[in-house]
Subunit: 139 residues, 4 copies
């Protein structure tokens, strides 16, 4: 990827205050693939003490959205039209890592998937899969 295209993703990510609230970091950006990681903070838990579904969703949705944005023109932003999450296991561990991928790019619609893993003592467990549709919007 061109450095301007990578910078655009970092700049959009940095403008999402929700990502900062969740402690999330963008740590891989390549064409059609983006990875985001976040700890399970004291303030992002559900009633049993595990990471909240909203945390897992936010990371998966953002990774998928930015994966889509890597394949869109530089003057576009991206929004989620729809996305579905299947939660497979509790979000527990040191980190969550969301990997978003483009399944089918398109000018009007971009179909994406994401996987979210929980990392505990170096072991990764798949805790969620997402499948959705991203749409380009003018910046």
């Amino acid at each position: 990827m061109h450095k301007d295209a990578i910078a655009r993703i970092h700049s959009s990510f940095a403008a999402q205050s929700m990502m900062e609230t969740l402690g999330a970091e963008l740590f891989e950006v390549s064409s059609g693939l983006v990875r985001i990681k976040a700890p399970i903070l004291p303030g992002t838990r559900q009633q049993q003490g595990f990471g909240h579904a909203g945390l897992t969703f936010s990371l998966g949705d953002s990774a998928a959205g930015y994966a889509a944005l890597t394949m869109m023109p530089l003057d576009n932003e991206v929004v989620t039209a729809e996305i579905k999450i299947n939660l497979l296991a509790p979000a527990k561990g040191d980190w969550l890592i969301a990997t978003g991928k483009v399944v089918k790019p398109g000018k009007r619609l971009c179909v994406v998937t994401a996987e979210v893993h929980a990392v505990s003592d170096g072991t990764e467990t798949l805790i969620a899969v997402l499948q959705g549709t991203m749409v380009p919007v003018p910046r």
Copy 2:
């Protein structure tokens, strides 16, 4: 609803630190229907300044989950098995209000929907619809 059943929902909600981070409040609990509201805080926004999809999702998912919990035995908790969100309009305004409803209760699976409205100067706009499956787990 029996007051113990209502208290159980409030107690579970209060144990979700994510709800506090989002500034969310539980403001209606009846059999098969739960409403949650939250402001769009400075820390829960996306890159264009609107509420983040993760905020809208978290409110809708929680309202739907607690609607399911109103119809489960008192010694159960509820977790999301899967849920899908269609986003209809930007999350902008003074408040978001999520209304979760039970479509089909069940011992193993409970099918739910939720609507999320943005309220601006007293006008409500439907910004998202969700459809999903909740499962009971031992408390």
Copy 3:
């Protein structure tokens, strides 16, 4: 609705050979709402003798798609971008009736829902709910 707009839905429906294979009939067309019904034929069953999920899906998807088409320009056709179905009960009875509705019309995307009921001796049971996105395409 204008009679040309109604005729357009009937003409598109009649061109779907799948609907004839399933024995499906269009029996209500109004702005943003379409109803389709079909028997559970000997040839559209699953392994336990109930209607196949593919039958329930086909009716729900078509009702939702045509509901969207009632709100699109006359020179458009409609295709499904994505749709999700939650199956609530076995498809058994005399008829299945699918009711599709528009949640949010739009030039690029139209968000829809559908419900499918099984009718047995005059009693209706909700057997499935669907939520999806339709897109206009040139005719």
Copy 4:
């Protein structure tokens, strides 16, 4: 896989009259993975002459369901609790091939995905992806 387990899948598939109506054949069964193929018959088309979304769905849903069944006890059958399909391209060509895979097996819920390809002159095009939940039921 044990030959009894493979025979069970073939026997359940053969009992689905819908699969015969669609001209579908089960052509690969292994642990956690099932492939089904079908032609685009004159009777399974949509209004533009391509394969109907209901055909693509039926093949993907069945492949995913049988993939789940390969990992369930021999005295179980499987039903779809919910499934979502994203349609990526028109269903046109000589054959459709649906590949179902298990993402996460489980006693109560089994999370699955499926891909559907259209094959035209030996070239495969990905036309749909599905993600869903299967549940075991007594035979």
